[in-house]
Symmetry: C2
DNA sequence: CCGTTTGTTTAAAACAAATTAAACATTATG
DNA sequence: CATAATGTTTAATTTGTTTTAAACAAACGG
């Protein structure tokens, strides 16, 4: 380690500010701040890092690092990289925030869609059955009809989520939106 | 209360399934399940509900209901409604999932943008200062330059978040995407 | 093989978040 | 104005989540 110069301290402080911003961001989306810092540390590092380096940098246990790294790998916002002659696993942050955004949100939007379509698939037949049950009280049948129709309308929303995922993953929606707005800006000037 | 007929029980079960799906969804996005159930209950109710009704329905304390309802109001995914002759406050769920999506995510994307632009505004001058400090060690200056440039590139991403918010809030992006895909489907058939 | 290094799992502890009941504040009404 | 009804805040409790240290398992190199 080199002696800590003034410039070096300044660098560390700048790093800390960026890291905090990233950790806050993860927090906004319900990701544990420690995991956020883990990502931020990797993001700021120009080299891939090992579990031990992360442990030293963050001052936490190796077990925590192992868990945190796995979460981030699952989210596909960090990657395992290989380097010949290196025994330890190396991790590298996804550096492209657009890719981060896409991995992070499409995964969630898809889960949302699946969870709710599954629920709907189970509930719809029940509502239907009540609607067609002439022995059921009118109020109950009306209620069932109301819900049945409401759910049917909601299907449009899950279709939208599906499109959104596709457009981001394959359709390059992010880039298109940016370009469109660049064009508008030029036009307006 | 009417006697619980078979049809009525069936209705309750269907409701429970839909509610679970919604609560799971909120959970995905880091919102407390109880608050999720609160929203789900209001969503399924054809009438606006009072705190007491929610307390009875969910079997929780009034204090919890008060807190949960405030969170949902802050998120703008439920609304307070007024009815003449009613002393208690009445709450109604946003029924349009598109509107839910827009309220929920644009708020978060904006926070993300603000938090990070704030951090960047603080960190950038520090990196700059190091870059221009001829007394600083080369390795430190290189590192500062590297980060400075990386951050500059990231600004594009926050511009994207901004556009996304605008497009959803004002530009009707959701509807446009749906229509575009409807058209594609017809064309393909 | 054997010892060492590395990463993972686990059970316990520390910590944080949610929940409650009760006190408090506010508002409405007669 | 006094009372009752309603909603909010608070402090204590409960519950759930994170974190750790240590045990364990797997892989590696000699």
């Amino acid at each position: 380690m080199s002696e800590p110069t003034a410039a070096h301290e300044e660098l560390e402080e700048a790093h800390a500010q960026i890291k905090n911003g990233i950790a806050d961001t993860m927090d906004i989306y319900g990701v544990n701040r420690s995991v956020g810092q883990l990502y931020a540390t990797l993001y700021l590092s120009d080299e891939p890092m090992t579990l031990d380096q992360l442990r030293d940098e963050l001052g936490m246990s190796k077990g925590s690092m192992s868990l945190g790294v796995r979460k981030l790998l699952d989210e596909k916002i960090i990657h395992r990289v290989y380097r010949k002659g290196e025994r330890k696993d190396l991790y590298q942050a996804e550096q492209d925030f657009f890719q981060f955004f896409i991995s992070f949100f499409t995964r969630r939007w898809e889960r949302e869609k699946n969870v709710n379509l599954h629920a709907i698939k189970q509930a719809q037949p029940r509502y239907k059955k009540i609607m067609e049950d002439t022995t059921a009280p009118d109020s109950v049948r009306e209620e069932a009809t109301y819900q049945y129709n409401k759910i049917n309308e909601s299907l449009q929303y899950y279709r939208f989520l599906d499109i959104l995922v596709e457009e981001f993953e394959e359709g390059d929606l992010a880039q298109r939106l940016l370009e469109k707005h660049e064009a508008k800006k030029k036009e307006g000037s």
